[in-house]
């Protein structure tokens, strides 16, 4: 009896070892998410990207709801140890853990989203130029508003969010100089109840366009009920508010993830810093609501093309801050360094940035 058991045990051990060797031979890609895959926002879109990699015939693993900090390092290390050849860490706070683990696993490739540290040759960074999408929203908002008041639900005062507010406001001012941007900071990426309340407060104070830099679909639903316009964020939110949503800014990580996974497979992966936008399709727009009217849709589609081709830049001078200091001089455009570190509002935005 016992002998039999040992026989099974030994043979299964062999099997396990053989299996793990065979698994090592083919590429496995690991993903680390900051939120649950069911947030229908940021993490959800990364998860769609993972699905695309899987659909391309490459094995993947993911770990969701990993807190930024010590836990993250443990999870990334675990993935690196268990035979993953490429690991995507999809939140800003994973920056240091990713670089730390990368040092110990020179044969594993690492891709860190929205960060700037590439301390080792096996670490790449990538991000998306969401602000280009905001320019389109601003153009639409400036045309569609009747009350000249745009309500903006903001999450945290970091350059990414401030850049979005500025980009939108500049574009809206261009078509409608009387525009006012009202901002409510909710200090969360994700609290449907609070986002709904913020949207309602903005509507009650006369905003007839609601825009958000938070992740849930609550705000567009409030807008639908109140009969004002809104825009989707991170994923296509049209089906949550079919009448109200004019379009959505969609993060599309899938092509990048597939391309980078294939590069590792082919041995052509190189360290790089990627900041893609409309041109490469990392930032995509949802369907335009026909309520905008055919002329405006055409105009926006043209602007989308021009932004993609580089003919138009979201931050073209002259740009002033709230105290009339010149940020960008006439005829020039803001460089990427300035965009990445943006910490002031442009003229026309109401209120102060919380410190």
């Amino acid at each position: 009896m016992l002998k039999n058991f040992f026989r099974y045990f030994i043979s299964s051990l062999f099997f396990l070892v053989a299996y793990s060797f065979s698994a090592n031979a083919e590429l496995k890609v690991g993903f680390v998410y900051v939120g649950p895959t069911g947030d229908h926002g940021w993490t959800y879109q990364h998860h769609l990207g993972r699905n695309a990699v899987e659909a391309a015939g490459i094995k993947t693993t993911y770990v969701e709801s990993v807190p930024e900090g010590a836990d993250a390092e443990r999870v990334i290390r675990q993935l690196a140890q268990s035979g993953h050849g490429l690991i995507f860490t999809t939140s800003f706070g994973y920056m240091d853990p990713t670089n730390k683990v990368a040092k110990d696993f020179p044969n594993v490739k690492f891709e860190h989203a929205t960060g700037y540290k590439r301390e080792h040759s096996n670490v790449s960074t990538y991000g998306a130029r969401f602000y280009q999408g905001r320019t389109l929203l601003g153009h639409i908002a400036g045309n569609m508003t009747k009350t000249n008041t745009i309500g903006y639900i903001a999450s945290f005062p970091i350059p990414e969010v401030i850049r979005g507010i500025n980009s939108m406001t500049l574009a809206a001012q261009k078509v409608n100089p009387n525009i006012k941007t009202k901002i409510v900071w909710v200090f969360t990426w994700y609290d449907p109840g609070k986002e709904a309340e913020a949207a309602q407060a903005l509507i009650d104070q006369g905003a007839d366009i609601i825009m958000q830099h938070t992740d849930s679909t609550a705000a567009v639903q409030v807008a639908e009920k109140a009969g004002v316009w809104s825009f989707g964020q991170a994923s296509d939110m049209q089906k949550f508010a079919p009448k109200s949503v004019l379009t959505s800014i969609i993060d599309d990580w899938a092509p990048y993830y597939v391309e980078r996974s294939k590069a590792v497979q082919n041995g052509t992966w190189k360290q790089q810093d990627t900041w893609h936008g409309l041109k490469e399709g990392m930032v995509a727009m949802g369907d335009y609501n026909p309520a905008m009217g055919a002329d405006l849709v055409k105009e926006v589609e043209q602007l989308q093309k021009d932004l993609a081709s580089g003919k138009v830049h979201s931050f073209t001078g002259p740009i002033y801050d709230q105290k009339d200091n010149v940020l960008v001089t006439v005829g020039n455009v803001a460089d990427d360094g300035m965009l990445l570190g943006m910490g002031v509002y442009v003229k026309g935005v109401e209120g102060d940035i919380p410190q």
């Binding site: 900071w185 449907p192 009650d204 209120g351």
Partner: protein, 310 residues
């Protein structure tokens, strides 16, 4: 902001709407605590109610079934807590915390296939009246049935505890389970019923979020409201009517701070965000100045396991 009377009416209405889940969950928990049981699993029961209600609404397309189902789901999950604490005599605090963690994880698993599906519009009552009557219109009319129920519930709870035999039994069990037991009251049974009732109300509170307030399912969508409801029970010194006041203060400050921001008032946003919590502390301090009164209104056996003497 035009400070006209209609605007204030709309503002009050949105404050009331935001306080509904707090009132429901806190009223349920209040009954549970009055029977001497401390169930810290409010958040977990709410989130289970939220996903159950939403899932049933999508599957059956029947809002009535969804509402009843969410309460049943609350009852089922609270029965786990009841069995552990009352039959197996486990520690209330630890079991309640486990219930919250279990509920959040379980709801995420159950909800996998319901992410990204828009909810259905919940019918509201007297919608036309809400626009024709100034000020009182938006406050009194155009709300869902659950909204009206929530604002009647504290008064019903108060009546139940003060004027009915069963309510007296609940209070007796909470204040002195030994004497109640000697009087022939089945302490364990009463506590079971109170736990299940609390579960039903928390389930309903969750369903209000996923079916009415923000009609959709998202993981962890209760985002801490269960804990606020728990705090409200203490805040109210176990008095149902004060729950109503506490919930309105809490909801009111949250909403008003958003309005102040939209107005562009130059007050640090972080301070405004912290305001509801600061207010809670201030009110708690004011209430607890009279410590004798607090002691009198706290169920004396709260959180203590009852061993029936053989």
């Amino acid at each position: 902001m035009s400070l006209d009377i209609n605007f204030i009416g709309v503002l009050i209405a949105s404050i009331m709407a935001s306080s509904v889940p707090l009132i429901l969950a806190a009223s349920g928990e209040l009954i549970t605590e009055r029977s001497g049981v401390l169930n810290l699993g409010v958040e977990g029961m709410m989130i289970i109610g939220a996903i159950s209600g939403f899932a049933l609404m999508i599957v059956t397309d029947n809002l009535f079934i969804a509402i009843i189902g969410s309460m049943l789901a609350g009852i089922i999950i609270s029965s786990i807590f009841g069995f552990l604490t009352q039959s197996l005599l486990t520690n209330h605090v630890a079991t309640g915390l486990a219930l919250t963690i279990f509920g959040i994880g379980m709801s995420a698993m159950l909800g996998k296939n319901f992410v990204g599906i828009p909810g259905k519009e919940f019918p509201v009552l007297f919608d036309d009246l809400s626009e024709t009557i100034p000020f009182f219109g938006p406050i009194l009319f155009g709300h869902s049935i659950v909204f009206y129920f929530a604002f009647i519930l504290p008064f019903l709870t108060n009546y139940f505890l003060k004027r009915t035999k069963l309510g007296l039994m609940v209070r007796a069990v909470g204040d002195s389970p030994d004497s109640a037991s000697n009087q022939g009251i089945n302490v364990i049974l009463v506590r079971y019923l109170c736990i299940l009732y609390g579960g039903a109300m928390c389930g309903l509170a969750g369903a209000y979020l996923s079916l009415i307030y923000t009609p959709q399912w998202i993981e962890n969508m209760t985002s801490g409201r269960g804990w606020i409801a728990l705090a409200l029970v203490v805040f109210s010194t176990w008095n149902p009517i004060k729950i109503l006041i506490g919930a309105m203060i809490f909801g009111g400050i949250t909403i008003i701070q958003l309005h102040m921001q939209a107005l562009g008032l130059r007050i640090p946003v972080q301070f405004l965000s912290a305001l509801p919590y600061i207010m809670t502390i201030i009110v708690l301090v004011v209430i607890s100045r009279d410590s004798r009164k607090i002691k009198l209104s706290t169920p004396s056996s709260l959180g203590k396991t009852f061993y029936k003497e053989k």
